[in-house]
């Protein structure tokens, strides 16, 4: 072995051994830290890994307890995976490429609670924001669109409408609603009283104008004259005949007066009953006052937009964020060709049959996990396959496909995805359908104005599409089997609202969003909950309004009767006096009529 240069071999072997030992001891720690920091830069929130172990002989990596916090809710995990295992191909690693034939992801959960905040420390947050600014054109575009939509939803007047309803119910008081000075019926009594008074006065004046006593006296004189007349000559006959004619005229006049008196008597002697006379006006007053209890009008899209609009925006925000992440890390092919520098005559590369690999290739990921557990549902076990994840889709010549399914009794879940970034264009499609899921997954916070959505069953069918930067999505949601609120536990005026919401057992929601690269946004949420709420409000209000109307009518009748009685009392003496006068005048005329024999 004298031809071996030991003084080179020994130190070299020593150095290589030290490097190997260092890698065996510390490689896992270094890789774990690298993965955590890369993940944090991708998701913008804390990433935690319980344990990471690698094997150099199998070139395998095993990760336990991977938790990635949700940037939109720091006390929730976006992804929580119990175990990930994969074997990588050795050769591509030497070319800085990661090629995995099969990866196993088990115990995948999402939306799990965190005990600590998942917010990044300020330094990392700053770094992430800087990176995010540079990245993802679509995300940026969506941000402005999202802000616009959020502002629009917040401007909707539904909240005011609900508050109006609430205050109406709260402040309902019949006496407060009746303003005596504005009551038409009371005014009408006053008018009727005045009219009657004038009428009596008019009759009185008319009777005075009749000069009945004068006429009776004149008639008496005529009768007396005629009875004393002795016809002695032809001139006496003509004189007497003239007096008889005059007497006849007087009689006629007295008859007419008698008729007038009789008519007046009939007119006056009818009972004074103002309240029955103004019943129609009372009814009008009742209607006028009731109109103040009118149900506030609700814009048909108000409720659904208010309740579900923001949720829809947030949901779309999340999906578009992940789609843009995929687009960012799996770019479409660019037409740019790298210029190759030639230092020396390069020769020709003879290509032999060999598979070339992209920087990252995961041929297949077997996923299994559980959906979020809540009070109502026990979580749904699901499993599925993701295929062809690659940093250069053109090299793989297959799009990413995603197929995840889960079934547990009536509950089922299906997620299908196709992310095709081959060529110079991209076409991403994600379909999510759920049935028998809890309404809780809609994340609509419970409030007094809503039915108990969290207790309901939900059926969802949604579709998200991102084609060359143009995003569109749609979702059909059916919320059914909504449980009723326990009215016994609700106090005060909120009981009315609970009565309204209890009438809704199910409702549909149809949500759409569309956005193109020109940043024009179209967010749309439609639901029959609007109509159902409106109907329920109307129904409840109409019974309340009817109750109130009856109370108002009763109260008004009482007021009107009092007013009428006062007026009637003050007019009664006038009436009696007038009738007495008519009767005496009638008697006088009757007496004198009996004396006239002609």
């Amino acid at each position: 072995m004298k031809f071996i240069r030991w003084n080179f071999l020994v130190p070299t072997v020593a150095v290589i051994t030290l490097i190997t030992i260092f890698n065996i001891l510390f490689f896992d720690i270094i890789l774990k830290k690298t993965l955590i920091s890369s993940g944090e830069m991708i998701f913008g929130a804390k990433v935690e890994i319980n344990n990471l172990s690698t094997s150099f002989t199998k070139v395998s990596v095993s990760i336990d307890g991977l938790k990635c916090a949700d940037r939109n809710d720091y006390f929730r995990n976006l992804i929580d995976i119990d175990h990930i295992k994969f074997d990588a191909k050795f050769t591509p690693i030497l070319k800085k490429k990661l090629v995995i034939d099969e990866m196993t992801v088990s115990g995948l959960k999402w939306g799990t609670q965190r005990k600590t905040s998942g917010q990044l420390p300020p330094k990392k947050e700053k770094k992430f924001n800087k990176k995010e600014k540079k990245d993802s054109k679509i995300s940026k575009l969506f941000d402005s669109a999202k802000n616009k939509a959020t502002a629009e939803f917040n401007k909707l007047p539904s909240v005011n409408a609900f508050s109006e309803i609430e205050s109406q119910i709260k402040d309902f008081d019949v006496n407060k609603l009746i303003d005596k000075s504005n009551l038409q019926s009371v005014k009408e009594i006053e008018n009727l009283s005045k009219d009657l008074e004038n009428k009596y006065k008019n009759y009185q004046t008319t009777f005075e104008n009749f000069k009945i006593e004068e006429k009776i006296q004149k008639t008496k004189v005529l009768i007396d004259d005629i009875s004393k007349t002795k016809v002695t000559s032809f001139a006496d006959i003509s004189k007497t005949a003239k007096k008889i004619e005059e007497l006849k005229d007087n009689k006629k006049e007295l008859n007419n007066i008698l008729k007038e008196l009789d008519k007046a008597k009939k007119d006056i002697s009818s009972n004074l009953n103002f309240s029955s006379q103004i019943q129609d006006i009372i009814n009008k007053d009742v209607n006028n006052i009731s109109s103040k209890l009118a149900i506030p009008s609700l814009d048909s899209r108000n409720i659904s937009n208010m309740l579900l609009g923001q949720q829809w925006v947030n949901r779309v925000d999340k999906i578009i964020y992940y789609m843009s992440l995929i687009k960012q890390y799996m770019p479409e092919k660019t037409d740019k060709v790298k210029e190759q520098a030639k230092k020396r005559e390069k020769g020709r590369d003879i290509i032999f049959a060999q598979r070339t690999y992209p920087t990252l290739l995961i041929s297949e990921i077997n996923i299994s996990g559980t959906t979020v557990k809540d009070k109502q549902t026990s979580g749904l076990d699901f499993s599925g396959i993701i295929k062809n994840i690659s940093s250069s889709p053109d090299m793989v010549s297959q799009p990413i496909t995603l197929d995840i399914r889960g079934k547990n009794g009536t509950q089922n879940l299906a997620i299908e995805g196709l992310f095709d970034h081959r060529g110079t264009t991209s076409d991403d499609l994600l379909k999510i359908s759920m049935a028998g899921a809890s309404g809780q997954s809609l994340n609509i916070p419970e409030n007094d104005y809503l039915p108990l959505i969290n207790t309901a069953n939900m059926k969802l069918s949604s579709r998200f599409e991102l084609i060359n930067g143009e995003f569109s999505c749609g979702a059909d949601i059916l919320i059914k089997d909504i449980k009723e609120k326990d009215l016994a536990n609700i106090k005060g005026n909120m009981k009315y609202l609970a009565e309204i919401t209890n009438t809704i057992k199910s409702f549909n929601v149809e949500a759409n969003a569309k956005m193109d690269e020109s940043n024009s946004l179209d967010f749309n949420v439609k639901s029959d909950i609007d109509k159902k709420m409106s109907d329920a409000i109307s129904k409840l209000f109409s019974s309340k309004v009817n109750e109130a109307k009856a109370k108002i009518k009763e109260e008004l009748n009482k007021i009107v009767k009092e007013q009428a009685k006062q007026a009637e009392d003050s007019l009664k003496s006038q009436k009696d006096e007038l009738l007495k006068n008519i009767n005496s005048q009638t008697n006088l005329i009757d007496d004198i009529k009996k004396s006239i024999k002609y």
Binding site: K2, F3, I4, R5, F8, L9, T12, F90, T91, L94, K95, R344, E345, K346, G347, R348, D349, I350, I351, F352, A353, Q354
Partner: protein, 170 residues
């Protein structure tokens, strides 16, 4: 200083009694090192040269010399490489196998110039070795003593000794 040291090492190689075999092997391996343009192959050859007791100076001289030669004969190397890689179809399965092995593809053996230069280097290993050995033996027999008397050699020795003393004092 480096130039002086190198010059001294070259003179020592010629003037001393270092084994001509070591020098011949160094020269032959150094020639391949100089010819092959691929970095990974160079590293492997360097490790081989360092691992065995071959003369490093002769290897360095051959490497420098054949690097220049390599630039000049690239078209020839390309042709040799092409013949080896493409025309000898019997070797294709071997190349395919090598191509799919780990690390080996990094040697860029499938490049015509790399393959050509490596083949030429291998072909030249024996002629280079024989040539180096014979030339050295001939030199030592006929010229070594005469060259040792040259004033330039003496001056160089003095200069190098003086530098050493200055370094020690400084």
């Amino acid at each position: 200083m480096f130039a002086l040291k190198m010059l001294k090492k070259i003179i020592v190689m010629f003037q001393s009694d270092i084994s001509p075999d070591q020098i011949a092997w160094g020269f032959a391996l150094g020639a391949i090192l100089g010819l092959v343009p691929n970095f990974l192959v160079k590293i492997i050859l360097f490790i081989i040269i360092m691992l065995f007791k071959v003369n490093l100076t002769s290897a360095l001289i051959a490497c420098t010399l054949f690097s220049i030669v390599g630039f000049a004969i690239d078209p020839l190397l390309d042709k040799i490489g092409y013949i080896c890689l493409v025309n000898i179809s019997a070797l294709s399965p071997l190349y395919n196998w090598l191509y799919n092995l780990p690390i080996i593809p990094f040697t860029k053996f499938n490049n015509t110039v790399v393959m050509g230069s490596f083949i030429l280097g291998l072909i030249l290993i024996v002629p280079n070795g024989i040539f180096a050995k014979k030339a050295l033996v001939f030199y030592r027999a006929n010229y070594r003593d005469r060259v040792a008397q040259w004033k330039l050699i003496k001056l160089l020795n003095t200069a190098l000794n003086a530098t050493k003393i200055i370094k020690k004092i400084g």
